[in-house]
Amino acid sequence: MDEKEKELVRRALAGENSAFEELALSYRQSLLHLAYRMTGNMEEAMDIAQETLLRSFKYLHRFNPERGFRNWLFQIAANQCRDFGRRKEAEKRYRQKISGLNGQEINAGNNGPGIKAVFHEASPATSDLKLDVNRYLNRLGPKERRVFILRDLEGLSIGETAGVLGISSISVRVNLSSARKKIKQLILGLEEGASGRGEAK
């Protein structure tokens, strides 16, 4: 963490809100990007990014300057995303249970988990964006996804990724390896499929 950041943190702790705003401004887009990749939905990502900045301000006194502000923000955001995912999953199960009791099926059009399901889940805000990357990310397991985003898309080291997610370096390596293999298979598979169709025509 550079001296300028340390100074901004010190001033923010002393009650200077403009110092915190300056600190947050430099990371606001990378924070939003991380939340968007983790959730796959822009509205949810925006909520998570806001909550992350609020929490980081509230608990700024607990921040260890040796760790770096960006990694600390990412850690809060990753925890938020994980909690958000759990709540969403519980809500989904509850709705399915209710719909089952009423004799209706909410997801009658979905044919199991797959790329099409991702488009159904996307909100109108995200449907305007290109969804290619999220389509691939949605095929990964939750831990693989978090590790891949932090290591490959955000460019953190193995150790930093482990620190942000609160897991061991070995776990990061294992999940990163399987995530990369899946991404490769998916991209090559889709390309081969596409080229195969092209040749058939």
Partner: protein, 180 residues
């Protein structure tokens, strides 16, 4: 090293996330294996492709928007940092020294009390009862109150034969000699 083992590690080899030993082994294998070279190439292309797609999408991500950002900053200005959940303030150095001295004094008193209690039991000589004194034959002259005699004579008699054995010991129970 076979291709299967190499391919299992290519996903980490690509970003230098393996140990030096493994990196060197895979380097050596790749030099002579076109199939694994192709596998590595495909993996690299896939990862480069997804990273480029991510960068392209990121450029089109919406910004926070001035209104939303200002609202957040207003909310932050209403939040008090560090007031809730702040850890207990550190103890003043002078008070800390006083606590340490008090703890040391308490410990010293305990040790001292323990020493005297144990010493009392250990140092006090066990005083034999009158019958025991008679049985072991402590001479009258050597009976001194509060301390052991210089010489101790222990006499064992066998009632059947009348044979008696006398052990003469010093006050540390070391035998000086055996008589009779």
């Amino acid at each position: 090293m076979n291709c299967k083992r190499v391919r299992a590690k290519l996903a980490l080899y690509i970003s230098d996330d393996l140990s030096r030993r493994w990196q060197a082994k895979i380097d050596a294998h790749l030099k002579g294996c076109p199939d694994c070279q192709l596998e590595l190439k495909n993996l690299k292309e896939a990862l480069v492709g997804i990273k480029e797609a991510d960068r392209a999408e990121s450029r089109s991500l919406p910004d926070w928007g001035r209104t939303r950002w200002d609202e957040l900053m207003k909310e932050i200005s209403r939040t008090e940092t560090g007031r809730k959940g702040r850890p207990a303030p550190p103890v003043e150095p002078r008070k800390r020294l006083a606590y340490r001295l008090a703890a040391a004094a308490g410990l010293f008193i305990l040790v001292l009390a323990g020493y005297f209690m144990i010493g009392e039991f250990r140092l006090r000589p066990s005083r034999p009862q009158a019958a025991e004194k008679e049985a072991i034959g402590i001479p009258e002259g050597s009976r001194q109150s509060g301390s052991l005699p210089e010489r101790i004579e222990m006499v064992f008699r066998l009632p059947e034969s009348g044979v008696q054995v006398v052990w003469i010991l010093d006050r540390n129970f070391n035998p000086e000699g055996v008589k009779k």
